[in-house]
Subunit: 202 residues, 2 copies
């Protein structure tokens, strides 16, 4: 399980992530970010009924990352923010993007049923990271991590997830380059970040 | 593209699929299956806003299937049928399950942005297969395949997709064993098929 959690951290870092620590938090959304009175983010119980954006496998920043097992990362966003993105090419206040780290089983293994090749998803989750648009915090976005918790404090700004998202993400610190139905919207609306456009131009 | 389509066929066969041919079709759903006056299935334009069930990579029945490239298969279901499954452990009439074959890019490739490992999804789709619950056809389910078409005739019953789904799928000819949030529902509701239970018991 420790190995899985470490892999979870490595993988999640591609899109979201960090380590739990105190922080502040901001504005709510009708179907996205919701906070406690102590300004902790509530776990988004219904996220599996939100809009699916993408699924990745074993994504990391490190070329040699290989923990000997595989994992999927499924990404969801609250529906009202998705609809706003389709109109504007960017996210409204209160947007919550959820990265679900999900177990993978190789074809041919007993748990793989009749699948003989590639990878399928299992019932096991290895954590959840949430990225929330929040004008009340520095940088305008907060990261949160959940395992079995029902609420989470914001990950502190010193975590590398913030600087990496700000430098490399395609739209407003979010990795829209990995969301295949939203990337063309951002192109059309002209909302791609300077950092991303510079990387693509290389 | 031919290679991709062949791979698409191999992969799709894990969950849905077959070859286009004439057939009949049945009852509609408020948000699932919709037909033309000629009883062809209409392409479900809004499926990316339906409920996400799972994503697989390079799944096939054949242990040695390797086309030198990878592909994701993303599965969605119409929301009202999903909610009914949560209550009953099985699907109502008019249910439409969509398998979207989606391009994959390896970490480290130019198109992979900052990802250095594993796989992410691309803007390219390689076809779409739809599995519809339809009491008016033999077996109670019809398969349909779409590329750029807006409507499709039902795949004929002789296609192996029908017999394979009937023999190996976990719930009512659908591969719920690959849908991690629905498999526990089917276990609780006691709706797992005899064929699947026999395979798991081996």
């Amino acid at each position: 399980m420790i190995g899985r959690l470490l892999l979870s951290v490595a993988m999640a870092s591609t899109m979201l992530l960090g380590v739990l620590a105190p922080g502040s938090a901001g504005h709510e959304s009708p179907d996205g970010a919701r906070y406690t009175a102590e300004r902790e983010l509530r776990f988004p119980e219904g996220y599996r009924e939100w809009i699916f954006l993408t699924s990745g496998v074993d994504m990391t920043y490190n070329a040699k990352a290989d923990a000997g097992m595989s994992m999927f990362g499924n990404v969801f966003v609250n529906p009202s923010s998705y609809r706003e993105f389709l109109k504007t090419g960017t996210w409204p206040e209160g947007t919550a993007l959820v990265l679900e780290d999900r177990g993978a089983v190789h074809g041919g293994e007993k748990q793989a049923s009749i699948n003989k090749h590639g990878l399928s998803q299992t019932e096991e989750t290895m954590g959840m990271e949430v990225h929330v648009k929040d004008a009340s915090v520095p940088g305008g976005w907060g990261f949160y991590a959940f395992d079995t918790e029902k609420t989470a404090k914001m990950i502190p700004r010193a975590a590398t997830c913030y600087s990496c998202h700000e430098q490399h993400a395609a739209v407003d610190t979010t990795f829209v380059q990995f969301y295949p139905t939203l990337l063309p919207v951002a192109k059309t609306k002209g909302t791609l970040s300077k950092g991303y456009l510079a990387e693509v131009a290389k």
